[in-house]
């Protein structure tokens, strides 16, 4: 039996049908990401689990107990918000101790737990400071400490890194994952950033328009998207109508859409005869350097596709150059 189960969850905001029958199971200790574009219902699902929103239909089971009608306090769930939501009039230590005080723990126990948790997030020296004296990343770590000090049954992270700059964000991704693994705490992370989801998750649930579009490990979702939406969202796929892709590679495709990862297409010197390999030709119309990769846009018969190669200054191609490319047919995903 799964640790958390969402059974036929529907949520309406007036006329707006935000969640359209979500069925989802999460195992204990798993790091799960709800991924999707803005407005797809991922935060609403998280808020339904926390008790901050009531579900319109369906049940939520946590560790065998139906918690659908429980108040947030009764659910014993920890949550970290996008805007930190720290209490500005309290020091770091008091923010972290707040939940424990509400549970009427003894002063000694509160002090000990606060110290332990602040050490875990690397902020033991900041305990007497106020939130306004901390950086964004530090504030988010305090918010994380405030949630985990309660030893919650589930930790919910609602886009906690979206207000933080890129470098700090990468550090915090690693930090959050390290803490989650150490505490073995079941964690649900909400994000619209597929790279972040790939880095952090055991399992990703991709949401689209209030429904789960696809679930799987990051590798499964990236390598085998089940739909055009998933392919479009999960990576920088070349997503083309079948007929158009056929025109590019001068072969007939009857499926509705074709998805090919840009890195699956490689530039070669000459056409070969191998089985299961498709050769294509075209003219480079633009080139973008993305640090360690080079992205070429190649045009043929009025159709454009992208190909990514590792950056190598000695084999760099020029715009206007005619090139030959190859792709293994198993990497050409035919989607309906």
């Amino acid at each position: 039996m799964a640790y958390i189960e969402f059974k036929g969850i529907h949520k309406y905001f007036g006329e707006n049908h935000v969640l359209r029958g979500i069925d989802l199971s999460i195992e204990q200790g798993e790091f799960v990401t709800l991924l999707g574009p803005s407005g797809c219902g991922k935060s609403t699902l998280l808020r339904c689990l926390s008790g901050l929103e009531e579900v319109s239909e369906g049940r939520i089971i946590l560790n065998g107990t139906d918690i659908t009608d429980f108040t947030p306090k009764q659910r014993k769930i920890g949550m970290v918000f996008q805007q930190y939501s720290l209490f500005p009039n309290m020091t770091v230590a008091k923010n972290v101790a707040f939940g424990l005080k509400m549970q009427r723990k003894s002063k000694e126990e509160i002090e000990q737990k606060v110290d332990e948790t602040l050490k875990l997030v690397g902020l033991e020296e900041k305990k007497k400071q106020y939130p306004r004296q901390l950086s964004g990343g530090q504030q988010q770590r305090v918010a994380l400490a405030r949630a985990i000090v309660m030893e919650p049954s589930v930790l919910l992270l609602d886009e906690p890194l979206s207000a933080i700059d890129a470098l700090l964000r990468r550090n915090l991704q690693v930090e959050i994952r390290r803490i989650q693994k150490k505490l073995k705490i079941t964690t649900i992370f909400v994000t619209h950033d597929q790279d972040e989801a790939m880095v952090m998750s055991d399992t990703i649930h991709l949401l689209n328009n209030g429904l789960i579009e696809q679930s799987g490990t990051p590798e499964e979702l990236y390598a085998a998207p089940c739909s055009s939406f998933a392919a479009n969202f999960m990576g920088h796929y070349n997503l083309l109508p079948g007929a158009e892709f056929g025109r590019f590679c001068e072969k007939s495709y009857t499926c509705q859409n074709i998805a090919v990862r840009p890195e699956a297409i490689s530039i070669t010197e000459a056409r070969g005869q191998e089985n299961g390999v498709l050769y294509m030709e075209g003219e480079i119309v633009s080139e973008i350097t993305r640090g360690n990769t080079l992205s070429y846009t190649v045009e043929h018969n009025g159709v454009r596709i992208h190909t990514d190669t590792l950056f190598n200054p000695h084999s760099r191609r020029q715009v206007g150059e005619h090139i030959i490319m190859k792709v293994e047919e198993k990497d050409i995903l035919q989607l309906e």
Binding site: G51, P72, G78, F81, S85, F87, F98, M102, R146
Partner: protein
Amino acid sequence: MKKSGKKRKKLLPGIVLTLCGAFMLLPFLVTVLYTVVKSWTRLMPSGYTMKFWIKVFSEGKVIPAVLRGLLISIAPVIATNLIVILALYVAIVYNPKAEKFLQTLCMVPNTLKGVIIAIPVLSMYAGNPTVLGDRIFMLSCVYCVCILPFVYQGIRNNLHAINVKQILEAAEILGCNRLRAFLQIIVPNMMSGILVSSLLSVSCIFGDFAVIKIIAGNKYVTGQMLLFSNRQMLLQIQCVIVVLMFMVTLALSAVAFSLQNRKKD
């Protein structure tokens, strides 16, 4: 060259601020000086005396009047703050749409001045055998209405600077109920706004005599009323009362701001 340029740049704002401060303080300083002069008919005073201060303190009329003025100023401010904070709590937590209605309601006294409110209130409730007929109660209620715009705006501006909804949700998840979270977390963060608007309201009421005159007549004599009804008294005595009232307001402001600064530290 550069150093002298920098010095000059620093000096100029200092001079301008000192001049402005001196300009604003001058009337007060002259008033204070006037309380201790025997007479001032030529360029310089003819002599100095403390007799007017001694007279004011020994008569025992002025100090109670100033304190009464203070009391009637503070009580409505506290009441209005409580009412507005609770109303805004309900609006934010349970019915965000009500906030607009609340805003409109609180802004109405901007167009209806105290004197306009006082007259119908008096004609409606004078002679009422219940507490509503009590002049001091009536006066307090009218002041509550008069200061609504200041109090509401101060609190509202502060509330909008904090993400109230999410902070309350965070507290709720941590096991705190919303009202407690509001009082324990949100209200302390609004203290600067509450203090500023309260001071504004206190000074507004403290300086009023028209509404008191209409509603309370001679039953509740404040410093302002004393000044108004004893216009024949010696100018030096009047100045002592004015200085006393100013000192009371100043002390109140100092206490409020020191409290606020202590919180910030």
